[in-house]
């Protein structure tokens, strides 16, 4: 079972992610801030991070940069209410980009795609 870390400052959104993604068969852990996310990442092993960009007084992009630097094999999907960040080159470091929507099908598809890609890369690395 793939383990996902969801980072969002909105408690209801964290709850929604947890509910929907658990239903998809993932193990979901949530964090309300980049600081909490770092603690979770240090304490556990994750297969993918779903990361909001605009967090209270903090930037998800900084956390993304830190993850890429320290855990370059851990894929990150940015999930933001802002579609404009898609064109921001700092967001290009992420493996996927989804605009927040009540219909979470796009996010679910994206998670599946990124995890499959990761698995393929891992298989190629061990082969």
């Amino acid at each position: 079972m793939a383990k996902l870390l969801v980072v969002d400052d909105e408690p209801n959104i964290r709850l929604l992610y947890a509910q929907e993604l658990s239903d998809e068969g993932y193990e979901v852990v949530t964090a309300a801030s980049p600081h909490e996310a770092v603690q979770r990442l240090e304490a556990d092993r994750f297969d993918l991070v779903v990361l909001d960009i605009k967090l209270k007084n903090e930037s998800g992009i900084e956390l993304l940069q830190r993850i890429v630097k320290e855990r370059h094999t851990l894929p990150v999907i940015l999930c933001s209410a802002f579609s404009c960040y898609k064109d921001d080159f700092s967001a290009w470091l992420a493996d996927g980009y989804v605009v927040k929507s009540s219909d979470m099908q796009e996010l679910k598809d994206e998670i599946r795609r990124v995890l499959a890609k990761k698995q393929k890369a891992a298989a190629a690395g061990t082969a």
């Binding site: 909105e10 209801n12 929604l16 209410a81 802002f82 927040k100 929507s101 009540s102 979470m104």
Partner: protein, 540 residues
Amino acid sequence: MDWECCWSKEEIAPEECPYIGEGEEDLYGSHRRRVVEKCVECPRFKNDLARLKGSGHPLSEVIPYILTEFQEQKAQMGAMLSFLNSKTREIKFLREVGLVLQTSMDLDEVLSLAMTAITAGKGFGMNRAFLLMTDKERRNIRGYLGVGPRDYEEAWRTWEDIGRNNFSLKELAKNFQKTKLNSEKVKFHDILNQLTVPLSDQGHIFNRALLSKKPILVENALNNPDLDRGLARILGVDCFLVMPLISRSRRIGVIIADNCITHKPITLQDMQSLETFAFPVAFALERASLYERLQEEVDKQKLANLKMREQQELIVKMEKMALVGKITSSIAHSIRNPLMVIGGFARTLLKSTPVSDDKRSYLESIVRETRQLEDVLSEVLDYSESLFPVMDLWDLNELVATALADLAGTLEQAGIVWHLELAPELPMVQIDYKQISYCVKTIVSTGLSTMSKGGELRLETLVDGDGVLLRISDSGKLLSKKAQEALTAPFYQTQEMGAGVGLSLCKTILERQGNTLSITGRPGGGNTYSIRLLTRKENI
């Protein structure tokens, strides 16, 4: 002694002197004036003197001396009077012309007056005159205007007209400016074109006149080996006057005057009179030229100010729009998160609600309405983002092909056949790629919504003057004029198309970048959406 002449009579009858003419009748009774004005030149008086000499009277010897002296003095006085009269006329004429020259700021008025004064009988009476002026760069002296008849026929016609109308010089000049100046400017084009001389050519007669600040009278030019015959050949005369025009030591130009029709010799007095006239003309020409240049600068300044004001207004408008964009964006984002939570949980609940549950329809309503609100929010956010375009040079053919490839799945699903007709070697367009791509996709989607299954779509690119045209034609239902207008007004609802900002946003995006969007219905059915993009842009 009986005298032949009436000199001895106090008063005479009209038949006694045949030399008293009409209007001189008072001489019959005025003895002294009759003797001084008539008798001294009368042949009968001379006969009487001869008879007196024969009589041996001592006075008869000296009277002829006195009379000769008297006649010489009288002739001199007459010549002097005539000279003074001509000078008085000249002064009057110069004063009249001078007044206009001193006050006029209009180059055409100055030119008309100066050239009329030189060529009119009431002025200096020359047959023809050419004005040559130094150019703005002060490198050459160039032919500017020629005035006068080209041949005898024209000369007589003109002079007859002038004689009939009896205009004053000022009236003649005004008439000339109104009716003839423009045609005269081109009449002697052939001659004027040959009269360009560099100011550095110090040996040329024009420059010699300018350097010496004196007029030069050229006579017998065609047969004089010391003179440049070229100029005489161009002018077609062998006697002409070159008059320098100098104002405050600045070389303004020269006037060439000649009598090409009458071949009347140019006298020293003509030369002196023209020289007196040349100074105010030069001064007036300089002032009028400077004023004209000043006006040009003022006009340029006005235009620059207008442009600056427009730019300022545009900046203010942009700032306002940017503010509106920021506010809209902020509100939209604040709404998006709660909407996601509401809609998301409604979907979660819906999944676990049995189909038979009465309350399921409520959840379905929440999901549907939330989705609709999210769509509106996306459009609003697209609109606010469109206020900040990122301009670059792009290949429109590539953009159209890519946009259509993105929509290929949707088109295939709807059974639409599409054709791409892309012009080869299309110039690059300066656009925000993302925004124009959005426009193309939105137009294709709009076209799609008007077509029933199995329609046809055509996308063409072509060069259109200084721009590039993209035409998207569908085979869908013909849109009414009202629907066409409604489509480009934001959030305007139509029965045909529903509500939204799609095409309105496209129109805003395109127009903000100086481009255009138009929709036309084709008589055979279907609609054509034309996007015209400029290949070059001013700063927008």
